[in-house]
C-alpha cells in the first residue's frame, strides 16, 4: 500500500512536463489587505501566460518574470490589481476589499482553502474576535462567536477546565474535547491535576499571539485528522511577520472581578429560628429545646448567640473580588526574504475565590526565511510559565465555598484574629492560612518546517513539531490546618509529557485553462506521545518553616510511572473546482494507534463533499438581490481515539500490604476495544444578499457516533465494577443558522451584526440488548438524550403533615400517586445536562474612532442537579446553614409549600430527587468592549502609529431563572455531568486598557 502510493506520486511527478519560461528576473513581494494583514493564497499571474504562483501563508510570493510583463493579483473577496513589471525586484501590493465578493481563507489542515469554494463547514475566528477578552483561558474567548460551538467553563476558578462541545456531545467515555492543533502540532490536552479538580492544559496559551482559530465542525473537514477528528478540530494559527518595517505593539489592561451571583443564606436570627423549630419537631419541646441550645452554644464558640453577638457572612469570606492584569508587547516585520514575529506576554489573574491565583509569562518567536525561490523554512517557538495557587476541589471540606455550610452564629475568627478552629465544619480560613497547593506548568511548543517548491504546481512540506508539558505540584499542609495530625504533610509531583509529530506531504495545485482548478495533497504523519510521572509525600516536619519533602522525617508514599502512545497515519485529499462554481472534494486518512488491540489497530476514514455556487450561474449572476449563493453537502467519517493508553488490555497492577508487594486486577480485558467512529452528513447553504450586506449560512447535520466507548457497569459479583466497551450508537442532529449583516457602512460609521443560533438534538439510538445503563443520577436509555437525569420525581409537600412526597411513577400506576417513602418511588427521566439551543449575538460598531463590540450568548434546554442540595436546602435536616428559601417550610396543616416540615435528622425530603434539579437556561452579556482611538494626526505628532484606550468586561449581565450560583458553574470534583456541588459562580470582570502601536 505504502509502496504503491509512493509509486503513484513519482509517476505523477514524471508525467507532468515542465513548461518553458522566457523570464529573466525574479520579483518578490508581499500582498496585504488594507489593514496590513498579509493575504495568503493570492493568485499572482503573469498576464496572457500560463505562469503564475500563489502567496504563501504570510502573504509572500516570488515569481520569475521579464520586464514589461504585467502581473495580476487576484483574490476572491478583493479587487484585482495589475502591475507592469519595471526595474524593481520587489513589488508589494495592497488589495482592496471588494464588498461585492465574499471570502476569507480558512485553515483546513495540511493547507488552506478559500471560504468561497469550501465545501465543508468551518467557522473562522480572527485575533480581533479573541483579543482583549479578560479571561485567562483561550477557549473562553470563543464563546458565542461560532454557531454550534458550546463553550462551558466548569466554574469560577481561574484554572478551571473548559468544555468545548462542537455540534453536541458525540461521546460518553472517550472524551468530547475536540483535537487542538497549533501551527500543525496536535496539542497535549490532558488534565494533569492531582488535587481532584482539573486544570485546563490550554491555560498556557496567550490569546495575544494567536492570529486565527478555525473550527472544523463537519466530518468532511475533520476527517483529514482521522481517528482524532470525531469531536471536531480546532486549528490555531499563531501570528507571523510580514514584509514591512518593524512595528511594535503594546497592550495593557487591568480589571477587577467579582462573582456573577451570590446566594441568600440564613442569618443568625433565621438560623436559630429554623433549627429550634426543627429540633422541636424531632425531639419534642422538652427535649428538643435544651438539645438545640446546647448545639448553639457549641456552634457559637462561647459567644452570646442569644444576643446574636455573631452573624458571620461565610459566603462573603469565601468569595471576594479579584483582578486581572494583562500586558503584551510584540514586534513584527520583515523583508522580502525573512519575516519575523516576536511577542512576550504577562498575565496575572486573582480569582474570586479566596486563595486562587494565576500568573503567566509567555514568549514566542516565529521566523520564516526564503532561501531561494524554491525553498523556504522557518521555525515557530514558544515557551510559557504558568504559576497557579490552587484551592481544594469542590468536594473537599476545606475548599472555600463549602464555608457556606457554616452557620451564621459561628465566628470566623477568634478574638486574637486567628481563624476559629471550633466550627461545625473545618474552617477553610485555617487551610487558607496554614496550607498551600501550588502548580507550575512550563510548556515549550515549537515547530520547524520546510517547504520546497519542486515545480510551479508541486510543493513538498515537511514539519517537525514538539510539545513539552512539564508540570510541578507542591503542597504543604501545616500543623494548624484542619485534619492535620502528622506534624505537617507535604506532597510534590512532577509530570512531563511530550508529544512530537512529524508530517510530510506533497501539494499539487494547478489551474487548467481557467476552467479546472485542481489541488491534491498526500502525505504521512507520525505522532508519539510519552508521559512520565513521579510523586512523593511525606509527614513529620520539624516545624512549619520546613515545607519541602527533604525535611519530612517520614516518607509515606511515592510513585513513578510511564506511559506512551503513538499514531501512524497516511492521508490524501483532492479538491477540484470546475468553472469556479462546481466544487468537489474528497479525502481519506488511514490511522493506526497503539491504543487499540492488535486486530483492530487500523482504521480508514474517508470523506467526500461537493458544492455548487449558484450565484455564478447565468440565471442568478445579474440578480440585484442575490449576490452570493452556494449549496454544499458533505459526508465523512472520523474517529475518537481519546481513551486510556492501554484500555483494551486486561491488567494487574502492583499493590502493597504491610509493605509486602503484591498484585491486583485493575482492568477487565476487552480485546475488541476500538475507536468510536463518527459519521456525519452535512447540508449547507451559504448566502449573500444586497451586495453581501446580508450574508450567512444555514446548515443541517446528522452526526452518528457508533461504537461508543463507555465504562459499562458490571455486576459487582464479577470482581470488577466496570469494563470499557464500544457499546452503542448515539445521534446528534441539528441545524445551525448564521447571519451577518452590515447595517451601516459609511466612511465614519460602520455597524456590523453577527447572529448565530443552533439547535442540537441528542439521542441514544442503540445500547447492547437495548438495556439501560444507569450511572449515578444519569441514565443511558434508547430513545432518550445522552446522560439524561434519572431521578425520583419530587412531588412537593403533604399539606396535612409536612412530609416530603415523591411520585411513585409505577409503570402502569396512577401518574398522580405519591409516597413519602423515597425507596418506593421509581426513578424517571427528568431533563438533560446538555443544552439544546445555543445562540450568540455580536455587534461591532465603529464611529469616528470609537469602537464598540458586544457579544450575548444564550443557552436553553439543560438542567443542573445540585448535589449539595441535600445539605444546603434540606429544611434543617442537619446543622448546615440553609438557603434562605428554606424559611418557607411547612409549619401547620394546610400550609401549601414546596419545603417540607423542618425535622432535624429527619431525612424529610433529602433523598436524591428532582427537588434539587433545575433548568439552567440563560442569556448573558458575555463580553463588551468600548474603545477610543486617538485621531491619527495627533498620534503622528507624538510619534505613535496608533493609540487606543478601551473598557472591556465579561459576564456583565446575566438573565436567568436558575436559583443556584450560576448556570455555568458545575462541580470540578468528578461528580457527574450536570452536577453542581459548592461550585464557584462564574466571574464578572471589568477592565480598562490601552493599545499602542509604534
Amino acid at each position: 500500500m505504502k509502496k504503491k502510493l509512493l509509486f503513484v506520486i513519482t509517476l505523477f511527478l514524471s508525467l507532468v512536463s515542465f513548461s518553458g519560461f522566457a523570464q529573466n528576473k525574479t520579483v518578490t513581494g508581499t500582498v496585504n489587505d488594507e489593514q496590513a494583514i498579509p493575504l495568503p493564497g493570492v493568485n499572482v499571474i503573469v498576464a496572457n501566460t500560463s505562469r503564475g504562483t500563489q502567496t504563501d501563508f504570510d502573504g509572500n510570493y516570488s515569481i520569475d518574470v521579464a520586464e514589461g510583463e504585467v502581473l495580476t493579483f487576484t483574490y476572491v473577496g478583493y479587487t484585482t490589481e495589475t502591475v507592469t513589471v519595471g526595474a524593481e525586484d520587489v513589488i508589494n501590493i495592497t488589495l482592496q476589499e471588494d464588498a461585492a465578493q465574499l471570502d476569507e481563507v480558512v485553515v483546513v489542515g495540511y493547507g488552506t482553502q478559500s471560504k468561497r469554494t469550501l465545501t465543508d463547514n468551518v467557522a473562522k475566528l480572527t485575533s480581533e474576535d479573541i483579543e482583549e477578552v479578560p479571561v485567562p483561558s483561550i477557549q473562553s474567548t470563543i464563546a458565542g462567536k461560532a454557531a454550534g460551538v458550546q463553550i462551558s467553563p466548569t466554574n469560577g476558578k481561574v484554572e478551571g477546565g473548559v468544555n468545548i462541545r462542537i455540534r453536541g456531545i458525540a461521546s460518553i467515555g472517550a472524551g468530547s474535547e475536540p483535537l487542538y492543533v497549533l501551527d500543525g502540532v496536535p496539542l497535549i490536552n490532558n488534565n494533569e491535576s492531582n488535587n481532584g479538580s482539573p486544570t485546563n492544559p490550554l491555560l498556557t496559551l496567550s490569546a495575544n499571539e494567536i492570529a486565527s482559530i478555525d473550527i472544523l465542525k463537519d466530518a468532511s473537514a475533520a476527517a483529514v485528522y482521522g481517528s482524532r477528528g470525531a469531536n471536531g478540530v480546532v486549528i490555531i494559527t499563531t501570528k507571523s511577520g510580514a514584509n514591512r518595517p518593524a512595528t511594535f505593539s503594546l497592550n495593557y489592561s487591568y480589571g477587577v472581578s467579582e462573582p456573577t451571583n451570590l446566594r441568600e443564606w440564613l442569618n443568625a436570627d433565621e438560623y436559630i429560628e429554623l433549627f429550634t423549630e426543627a429540633a422541636i419537631n424531632t425531639f419534642g419541646e422538652e427535649e428538643g429545646v435544651p438539645y438545640i441550645e446546647g448545639i448553639f452554644d457549641f456552634l457559637s464558640n462561647d459567644t452570646d448567640w442569644r444576643d446574636r453577638e455573631v452573624d458571620t457572612d461565610w459566603q462573603d469570606l469565601a468569595l471576594g473580588s479579584g483582578h486581572v492584569q494583562d500586558a503584551t508587547l510584540s514586534m513584527s516585520g520583515g523583508n522580502e526574504k525573512t519575516t519575523y514575529f516576536f511577542s512576550g506576554a504577562y498575565n496575572d489573574t486573582e480569582g474570586i475565590v479566596r486563595g486562587n491565583e494565576l500568573e503567566r509569562i509567555n514568549g514566542r518567536v516565529n521566523v520564516t526565511h526564503n532561501f531561494n525561490e524554491k525553498f523556504r523554512a522557518g521555525m515557530n517557538l514558544s515557551f510559557s510559565r504558568t504559576d497557579i495557587d490552587r484551592i481544594a476541589n469542590d468536594n473537599a471540606f476545606v475548599t472555600p465555598l463549602q464555608a457556606i455550610a457554616q452557620p451564621a452564629i459561628s465566628p470566623a475568627y477568634l478574638e486574637n484574629g486567628d481563624p476559629n478552629p471550633n466550627t461545625l465544619y473545618p474552617n477553610f480560613l485555617l487551610q487558607d492560612k496554614h496550607a498551600f497547593y501550588n502548580t507550575v506548568i512550563r510548556r515549550v511548543l515549537g515547530r520547524a518546517f520546510g517547504e520546497y517548491q519542486i515545480l510551479d504546481f508541486l510543493k513538498f512540506n515537511s514539519d517537525f513539531g514538539y510539545d513539552l508539558y512539564y508540570q510541578n505540584e507542591d503542597s504543604y499542609t501545616g500543623r494548624l490546618a484542619p485534619f492535620q495530625s502528622t506534624n505537617g504533610e507535604a506532597y510534590a509531583s512532577s509530570v512531563n509529557t511530550e508529544s512530537y509529530v512529524t508530517s510530510n506531504y506533497f501539494t499539487f495545485s494547478k489551474n487548467f485553462n481557467e476552467i479546472h482548478d485542481l489541488e491534491m495533497v498526500a502525505g504521512m504523519e507520525y505522532n508519539e506521545f510519552n508521559r512520565r510521572f513521579q510523586d512523593v509525600s511525606g509527614i513529620q516536619f520539624p516545624t512549619d518553616d520546613f515545607q519541602t519533602i527533604d525535611s519530612a522525617a517520614e516518607i509515606t508514599g511515592g510513585s513513578g510511572s510511564e506511559s506512551a502512545n503513538s499514531f501512524l497515519s497516511y492521508f490524501a485529499r483532492v479538491t477540484y473546482n470546475l468553472y469556479d462554481k462546481y466544487l468537489f472534494k474528497a479525502s481519506i486518512r488511514r490511522d493506526g494507534s497503539s491504543r487499540f488491540g492488535e486486530d483492530v489497530r487500523y482504521g480508514t476514514f474517508p470523506a467526500i463533499s461537493a458544492g455548487w455556487i449558484l450565484s455564478e450561474e447565468e440565471f442568478l449572476s445579474n440578480s440585484e438581490v442575490i449576490s452570493f449563493l452556494k449549496l454544499r453537502a458533505s459526508y465523512g467519517e472520523a474517529g475518537n481515539a481519546n481513551i486510556g493508553d492501554f484500555a483494551a488490555l486486561g491488567l494487574f497492577g502492583g499493590i502493597s500490604y504491610n509493605q509486602r508487594p503484591g498484585i491486583a486486577p485493575i482492568q477487565a480485558a476487552n480485546p475488541l476495544l476500538t475507536w468510536e467512529s463518527v459519521k456525519q452528513t452535512d447540508i449547507g447553504l451559504e448566502y449573500g444578499f444586497l451586495d453581501n450586506r446580508i450574508s450567512g449560512e444555514i446548515d443541517y447535520y446528522i452526526k452518528e457516533s457508533d461504537g461508543l466507548i463507555f465504562q459499562q457497569p458490571l455486576p459487582g459479583t464479577s470482581g470488577q465494577p466496570s469494563i470499557t466497551r464500544n457499546i452503542g450508537v448515539l445521534e446528534n442532529k441539528g441545524i445551525e443558522f448564521v447571519v451577518n449583516t452590515k447595517n451601516i457602512q459609511t466612511d465614519h460609521f460602520t455597524w456590523n451584526t453577527n447572529f448565530n443560533i443552533s439547535k442540537n438534538d441528542n439521542e441514544v439510538k442503540e445500547l447492547p440488548n437495548g438495556e439501560d445503563v444507569i450511572n449515578g443520577q444519569t441514565i443511558l436509555r434508547e430513545g432518550e438524550p445522552l446522560s439524561a437525569f434519572y431521578l425520583r420525581e419530587y412531588a412537593g409537600v403533604d399539606p396535612e403533615n409536612g412530609d416530603a412526597l415523591y411520585f411513585v411513577n409505577a409503570e402502569d400506576g396512577d401518574p398522580n400517586e405519591t409516597t413519602n417513602d423515597p425507596n418506593a418511588a421509581n426513578r424517571v427521566i427528568l431533563g438533560q445536562p446538555y443544552a439544546e439551543w445555543i445562540a450568540g449575538l455580536t455587534n461591532t460598531v465603529y464611529y469616528k474612532g470609537i469602537d464598540l463590540g458586544f457579544t450575548f450568548v444564550g443557552e436553553w434546554g439543560a438542567s443542573i442537579y445540585n448535589g449539595g442540595g441535600i445539605y444546603q436546602s434540606a429544611n434543617a435536616d442537619f446543622f448546615d446553614n440553609q438557603s434562605a428559601d428554606q424559611l418557607d417550610r411547612w409549619q401547620e396543616p394546610g400550609d401549601i409549600t414546596n419545603v417540607p416540615q423542618a425535622r432535624l435528622f429527619g431525612g424529610n425530603g433529602t433523598a436524591t430527587s428532582s427537588r434539587y434539579l433545575q433548568e439552567s437556561d440563560f442569556i448573558r452579556l458575555r463580553n463588551l468592549t468600548l474603545g477610543y482611538t486617538l485621531p491619527e494626526d495627533f498620534t503622528d505628532q507624538i510619534g505613535l502609529e496608533k493609540f487606543r484606550v478601551y473598557f472591556t468586561g465579561i459576564n456583565l449581565l446575566t438573565i436567568t431563572d436558575y436559583d443556584g450560583y450560576d448556570p455555568e458553574s458545575t462541580s470540578d470534583a468528578g461528580q457527574g455531568v450536570g452536577v453542581t456541588f459548592y461550585s464557584a459562580p462564574a466571574v464578572r470582570t471589568m477592565s480598562l486598557g490601552f493599545n499602542i502601536n509604534f
Binding site: F483, F652, G907
Partner: protein
C-alpha cells in the same frame, strides 16, 4: 545546492513512507497482563497479598464494615453526628437503596472474593511447600468476606450471590442470582474448615489456622451452633499461643499486632487504611472531630474501676465523648481479639450447660479482671451479652449480637426488614437476576 536539496528531499520521502508499524507496539510499564498474572506461582502468591490489601480497604475492614455494623445497632449507646448522609441513614435504620457505603462494601467484598477465587483456581502453580498455606489463606479471606456480606445483606433465606470461580473473561454472561442464606453460610464454614486444615500454626501477621478457627467460632456463634462455637473458641484459647494484653488499652492502636490479636488488618503510613480513626477520632489524631459520640447511658454501664469505662476522651471539635479505641491513624485494625474467644466460650458453655476449658464465670471474670472491673459472682446469658457490649463496642459486633439473640433494636424487632441492608441499586441495575430484599422494593 540543488543536489543537496534533492538528496534531503529524497531522504524525507524514504523516512516518510518507510514502515514504522512496530512503533505502534507499546506495552504498559507499570502493569502486567492477566495472562502473565496467572502464569506463575510467584504471581499467584502476589495475588494473595492483593486479597489482603483488598479486604483491608476502607470500604470493608479498613473500617466501614465495622462502623456500619455498629451504627446499625446504635440506639442509646452512641450517636452519629457526622455530615455524611450514608452512615446517617444506617444509624437511622432508614437506608436508601442508592446508599454509597452500602454499595461500596458490596463491591469491595466481591472484588476480594474474586481475587481469592483466582488464587484458589491457579494454586496448582504454587510450589508444593507453599501451596497449602496459600490456599488456606485464600479460603480464610473468602470466608470472611462472604460471612459478613451474608450477615448484612441477607434477609430470611435470601442470601447473597455465591461465586466460587475466579473471573478473567469479562465477555461472558456475568449475571448470577442470589443463593440461599444457608448455602452461603455452609460455604463459609467449609472454607474455614479447609483453611484450618491447610494453614500453619503460625503465619506471622497473615492468617494462620487459629485465625480460621477464631472466625469459625464467630460464625458458629452467629448461627447458634454453640457446641461448635465453644470448641473452636476453646481451641484458639488453648493452642494459639495468644494471650490477653496486660492492660485493656494495650489491645488497641498498635503499629504491630499485640499478643491478643488472633488476626488484624495491617496499616502502615504507606499502605492500608483505617477509617475508624476518621470517624471515631478527634482531629488532633487524624479524625474528623468525632462523627460518632458516645452517650452517657452507655458510659453509665461501666463499673467504677473498669478501665474500659474510662477509655474515652472529649473531642476538641464537638465536645462529645469519643472512644479511645481509635487514636492511631496508622494503627492496625484488630479483626479477632482473644478476648472475643473468651466471651464466645463463656456464652456457648453457658447455653450448652458445659464448662469446656473453663467455667463461664471464670471466662467472664478473666475479661473483667484484665480491665480492672469488679469480678462477678455469678453469670447469666444477659451478663455475657452485657459483657460483650462493654468489651467489644465500636468493633463491629453490635447489630449482629442484637439480631442473633432476637433482641429489639430500639423499636425495631430483630427480624425487621429494616435491619437487613438493601441490595445496592447499582447492582440491581447491572444484574437482572437479583431480587431486592423485602422492604426495599420500588412499587
Amino acid at each position: 545546492m540543488k543536489k543537496i536539496f534533492n538528496s534531503i528531499f529524497g531522504l524525507f520521502i524514504i523516512l516518510a513512507f518507510s514502515g514504522c508499524d512496530d512503533k505502534l507496539d507499546i506495552e504498559p510499564r507499570q502493569s502486567i497482563s492477566v495472562s502473565t498474572a496467572i502464569s506463575t506461582g510467584e504471581n499467584v502468591k502476589n495475588i494473595l497479598i492483593g486479597v489482603y490489601n483488598e479486604t483491608g480497604q476502607s470500604a470493608s475492614y479498613g473500617g466501614y464494615f465495622q462502623l456500619l455494623s455498629d451504627l446499625y445497632g446504635f440506639t442509646t449507646e452512641a450517636t452519629w453526628g457526622g455530615t455524611f448522609q450514608a452512615p446517617r441513614q444506617v444509624f437511622n435504620k432508614e437506608i436508601f437503596i442508592d446508599n454509597g457505603f452500602v454499595r461500596d462494601l458490596w463491591l469491595n467484598a466481591y472484588e476480594a472474593i474474586n481475587q481469592a477465587n483466582l488464587v484458589l483456581d491457579y494454586s496448582d502453580l504454587v510450589e508444593e511447600e507453599d501451596r497449602d498455606r496459600v490456599m488456606g489463606e485464600a479460603y480464610f479471606l473468602r470466608a470472611l468476606n462472604y460471612f459478613d456480606l451474608n450477615r448484612l445483606y441477607s434477609n430470611g433465606d435470601m442470601g447473597v450471590p455465591l461465586t466460587l470461580t475466579g473471573i478473567i473473561d469479562y465477555s461472558q454472561n456475568l449475571e448470577i442470582p442470589r443463593a440461599s442464606t444457608s448455602e452461603v453460610y455452609n460455604q463459609v464454614i467449609s472454607d474455614l474448615e479447609m483453611a484450618y486444615e491447610l494453614l500453619p500454626e503460625d503465619n506471622g501477621f497473615f492468617a494462620d489456622k487459629y485465625a480460621a478457627q477464631g472466625l469459625l467460632a464467630r460464625v458458629h456463634l452467629q448461627l447458634g451452633n454453640y457446641a461448635q462455637a465453644r470448641d473452636a473458641a476453646d481451641d484458639v484459647i488453648q493452642n494459639s499461643g495468644h494471650s490477653l494484653t496486660a492492660s485493656y488499652e494495650a489491645a488497641f492502636n498498635n503499629d504491630v499486632n499485640s499478643s491478643e490479636d488472633v488476626f488484624a488488618f495491617q496499616v502502615t503510613t504507606q499502605d492500608g487504611s483505617n477509617v475508624l480513626v476518621t470517624h471515631y477520632a478527634d482531629q488532633s489524631v487524624g479524625g474528623r472531630g468525632g462523627d460518632v459520640t458516645v452517650n452517657p447511658s452507655y458510659l453509665a454501664r461501666f463499673g467504677e474501676d473498669d478501665a474500659r469505662g474510662s477509655f474515652f476522651y472529649t473531642s476538641a471539635q464537638n465536645e462529645g465523648t469519643l472512644t479511645g479505641k481509635y487514636t492511631n491513624q496508622f494503627g492496625n485494625i484488630s479483626l479477632i481479639r482473644l478476648a472475643e474467644m473468651y466471651l464466645i466460650r463463656a456464652e456457648a458453655n453457658l447455653r450448652e450447660g458445659t464448662t469446656v476449658g473453663a467455667t463461664p464465670l471464670e471466662d467472664i471474670n478473666k475479661i473483667r479482671n484484665r480491665a480492672g472491673a469488679e469480678a462477678l459472682s455469678s453469670v447469666s446469658i444477659e451478663d455475657v451479652l452485657n459483657e460483650r457490649d462493654l468489651e467489644l463496642m465500636f468493633e463491629g459486633f453490635l447489630i449482629f449480637d442484637y439480631k442473633r439473640t432476637g433482641r429489639n433494636v430500639g423499636d425495631l424487632p430483630a427480624n425487621s426488614n429494616k435491619l437487613s441492608f438493601p441490595i445496592p441499586q447499582r447492582e440491581l441495575d447491572a444484574n437482572s437476576l437479583l431480587e431486592q430484599n423485602p422492604g426495599y422494593e420500588t412499587t
